[in-house]
Point group: C2
Chain length 152, copies 2
Amino acid sequence: MKANQQPASKKPLNLRALQNTPGFMIRLVQLKFFEGFYEQFAEMGISPASYAILALVRDNPGVAPSSVAGLLRLQLPNLIKMLNELESAGLIKRSRSKADRRAVELVLTPKGNKLIQEAAKISEPYNRRMLAPLSEAEQGTLIEMLNRILPL
Amino acid sequence: MKANQQPASKKPLNLRALQNTPGFMIRLVQLKFFEGFYEQFAEMGISPASYAILALVRDNPGVAPSSVAGLLRLQLPNLIKMLNELESAGLIKRSRSKADRRAVELVLTPKGNKLIQEAAKISEPYNRRMLAPLSEAEQGTLIEMLNRILPL
DNA sequence: TATTGTTATACTCTATAACTATA
DNA sequence: TATAGTTATAGAGTATAACAATA
């Protein structure tokens, strides 16, 4: 250790190119959201994916696994594993459709309903924290832009 | 098959909650960017991660692996594997620092320089395609917001 | 003793193939 | 034959532990 004292970081790197690369920034922001999620929801034993599944089933009782997989961009076999866990945990229930006995209908159990309700409460401070550097109006603009980039 | 004819999709699902969940939308947009990246850069044999590494080394010749890992949010051992591949492919060169012989300095080879230059050209139509639903001004706003959410 | 880079390894996430049952 | 769901399995990506060389 001689001179060259800088607090902790080494050098002022040139990051302009990457900062102006949308895909790169989106990826880093996404990692930040995931990291923040696990911090905020640590005690609930819930992941971003399971949160999305529960919210989707809550708003669409009877929805089919294939629909959930399609919307969440998960391969069906991978979703099935998560559904098995959610069902084992007593959060969702599977039943066979009477119209088409191949089809499965997903619904929340009371326990699942309670969990997603608590999670929704926690999600408010979580989103506030993640988006703190943006004004309310800007947060709305961001959401709107994201929905335009990826129409659902 | 009786009645109930709807083109291909099954039902009009209620997606409002998820559409208004920033982390969820950011994740889906990020997946779209990755998917689009592999389409557009298919022939170059380059991944989003290796693109970022090459661009970072190009703009910061002599940068240390630990700095690259920190910025790209990769664990150092995982970055090392990628560096091994990039070096084997003749795209980057490692050399030991003379000041601190533990430290490694990364630079692009001429071949690496040529590759990132070609990739940068392809990245223009790629970004244009990904962000097509946004106006030029909106694209700038988005980038600026992302940088505020995740200051680098 | 602390730091940088590296290797080995385990774990999670994602993708593909094949099977069951119903249509 | 085609479709919805499921199982099994392989691969990619990510995280942790331990080591070598140097400070």
